[in-house]
């Protein structure tokens, strides 16, 4: 049957497109344009010295394959993600367990504990570089009190300490995020189920793994996804603490791209790198979503 397009239909269409138009236009400008631009540039040969806009084929992409510094940065980024994420998750879960039941001053504790989350990452990087300063920072001093001798740990220089230093800052800033989320998720677990299980004689561990964990899993999955994506673009904290040093030992994808693109002006090369990151990220996200979906 042929649908008759009466006047109000048109008017409504107009209305619904009027509503989304500004957002979509802005997103196209800021979201789509850069992708297209990057794609075009990545096939050219623009460098600091040479504004060469001729077609260079996949030269830049081939160069990435040989760039050990890029792969190193990618490796570091992945490593930061797979180490920091579980730490934040478990620490956050532990803290949430601590606060799930009644506690005097609970609200105040929670209010104070979330403060690190809203500190600007660049500021928290700066703060930790103050704290970890080998000479003027308090952390070494505290360690010295415990050790009873005068050590000077070079947190941002020593290769064995620089990762812990970054993890400290990262975990400090984002564990409260996990905590807040998991606390909310735990509070939403059906109390009746827990009581029923307790009456059935289930152990604490059984209750936790068979009831609590499955109920909070959707929230955990979202938390992992959000934080995972954030960690993948880690920039501010590393920039403030080490600038990728010592050497290129803590360089992440983002700091690498910044150095290549904005300090060395390998514009086309950086374009190729940026696109590659987006592609890698797409696969990671799709994979992660699949995984999350399967376990549901």
């Amino acid at each position: 049957m042929l649908k008759k397009l009466s006047l109000p239909k048109i008017r409504k269409l107009g209305f619904k497109y009027q509503l989304i138009a500004p957002s979509i236009i802005i997103l196209l400008i800021i979201g789509l344009f850069p992708l297209v631009y990057t794609l075009v540039v990545s096939f050219q040969g623009i460098t600091m010295m040479d504004n060469d806009t001729s077609f260079h084929g996949i030269k830049n992409y081939v160069a990435i394959a040989d760039d050990t510094r890029f792969w190193g940065a990618l490796f570091h980024t992945v490593m930061f993600t797979v180490i920091a994420l579980p730490i934040e998750l478990f620490l956050g879960l532990f803290m949430a367990q601590l606060f799930i039941e009644k506690l005097p001053g609970r609200q105040i504790f929670i209010a104070l504990l979330v403060l690190p989350v809203v500190v600007a990452p660049i500021v928290s990087g700066a703060t930790w570089s103050l704290l970890l300063d080998n000479r003027f920072g308090p952390i070494n001093q505290i360690i010295n009190w415990f050790m009873g001798e005068e050590l000077t740990l070079l947190w941002t220089i020593n290769p064995t300490l620089v990762y812990p230093a970054i993890f400290l800052a990262e975990v400090w800033q984002w564990t409260p995020f996990m905590f807040l989320l998991l606390l909310a998720a735990l509070s939403a677990v059906d109390k009746a189920q827990l009581e029923a299980a307790a009456i059935d004689g289930a152990s604490y561990w059984m209750i936790f793994t068979k009831i609590t964990l499955p109920s909070i899993w959707p929230v955990m999955a979202v938390a992992i996804l959000i934080r995972g994506l954030d960690l993948f673009r880690l920039f501010d904290i590393v920039w403030a603490l080490t600038k990728g040093g010592p050497g290129t030992m803590t360089e992440t994808i983002s700091t690498f791209t910044y150095v290549k693109g904005f300090q060395q002006f390998e514009t086309s090369y950086t374009g190729a790198v940026a696109l590659l990151i987006i592609i890698i990220l797409s696969f990671v996200v799709i994979g992660a979503l699949r995984k999350v979906e399967l376990s549901r």
């Binding site: 209305f15 619904k16 497109y17 509503l19 989304i20 957002s23 802005i26 997103l27 400008i29 800021i30 979201g31 344009f33 850069p34 992708l35 631009y37 990057t38 601590l98 039941e101 009644k102 506690l103 001053g105 209010a111 104070l112 979330v114 403060l115 690190p116 989350v117 809203v118 500190v119 600007a120 990452p121 660049i122 500021v123 700066a126 703060t127 930790w128 103050l130 704290l131 000479r135 003027f136 308090p138 989320l181 909310a184 939403a188 959707p218 979202v222 959000i226 994506l229 673009r233 920039f235 920039w239 403030a240 983002s254 791209t257 910044y258 904005f262 940026a274 990151i277 987006i278 990220l281």
Partner: protein, 276 residues
């Protein structure tokens, strides 16, 4: 009695744990704040000084005298305005997607996918774009960028809230004699007020705390406080006094906002995964 004792003991243990954790997590913030009140002598003292002899405001005085403190004002203008824009545009967009299924699933998915792009990957093209249109180092440029960057988040969040609004409220208003636009203003916006707050905190915090976009897209006119903080490290070594004072100036407003909006935090933080 025994059970009660045991319970009290457990609570005491948990309380102790809570206190220790809170101290651990607040210590860095304490240190940051405290340094800003130290004299240069105290900042560069070895071993470090844990409590300044007297509270010095000279680190702040310098920031105000040189006009560096104005960058907090820039942050406020940029973050505030972009939040208002993102909230209005995002909410209307979300409304259209929810009520009229505009664009179907593909549009909604494309929008949220925008949030996954790493800032570093788009910042250079955006800079080029801004140069063409003369938007570098303008309030409008940063506002536009933050609005755009926050839009997917706002749309995603508000979508959830609008889904919760009974459609009959809108129908009632339509029947009562309001136009669709009026319904949006008089029904939808007031109805998702809690959602607007929760979402707005995070759009604001994002814009307020952003570093990389502001670093590339500003020069001096509209430099935000995060960019200003980094002016004090790297160049002539690290000016800890200025770094900390500037950081405190930029962090305090956020702390206040969070303190007042505590109850909206959770849903905002979790992309709506937890209904708060």
């Amino acid at each position: 009695m025994n059970a009660k004792l045991k319970k009290n003991f457990k609570t005491g243990l948990r309380l102790a744990g809570a206190v220790v954790l809170t101290i651990l997590f607040l210590f860095p913030i304490y240190w940051l704040f405290m340094i800003s009140f130290k004299t240069a002598d105290e900042i560069y003292a070895y071993p470090p000084v844990w409590w300044p002899e007297s509270l010095q405001f000279s680190n702040y005085a310098v920031l105000f005298k040189d006009g560096d403190a104005a960058t907090v004002g820039n942050s406020l203008i940029v973050a505030g305005t972009s939040t208002v824009f993102a909230m209005i545009l995002g909410t209307t967009c979300a409304y259209s997607i929810v009520r009229f299924k505009t664009g179907g699933d593909h549009l909604a998915n494309w929008i949220i996918s925008q949030r996954m792009i790493p800032p570093i990957a788009i910042v250079f093209p955006v800079f080029i774009l801004y140069v063409w249109f003369g938007l570098v180092d303008t309030y409008f440029g940063l506002i536009l960028l933050y609005t755009a960057f926050n839009l997917p988040y706002v749309i995603w969040m508000m979508r959830g809230y609008i889904l919760d609004i009974p459609i009959s409220l809108e129908h009632a208003a339509l029947v009562d004699g309001y136009t669709r636009w009026q319904v949006l203003w008089k029904v939808i916006f007031p109805m998702c007020r809690a959602g607007l707050f929760a979402t707005a905190i995070f759009t604001f915090v994002f814009a307020w705390n952003d570093f990389i976009f502001a670093l590339v897209l500003t020069r001096t006119e509209v430099a935000t406080y995060t960019v200003q903080v980094t002016h004090y490290f790297g160049g002539q070594s690290n000016f800890w006094g200025k770094i900390s004072a500037m950081s405190v100036l930029g962090t305090l407003p956020i702390f206040f906002i969070v303190a007042f909006m505590q109850k909206y935090l959770v849903r905002g933080i979790s992309l709506g995964a937890v209904k708060g």
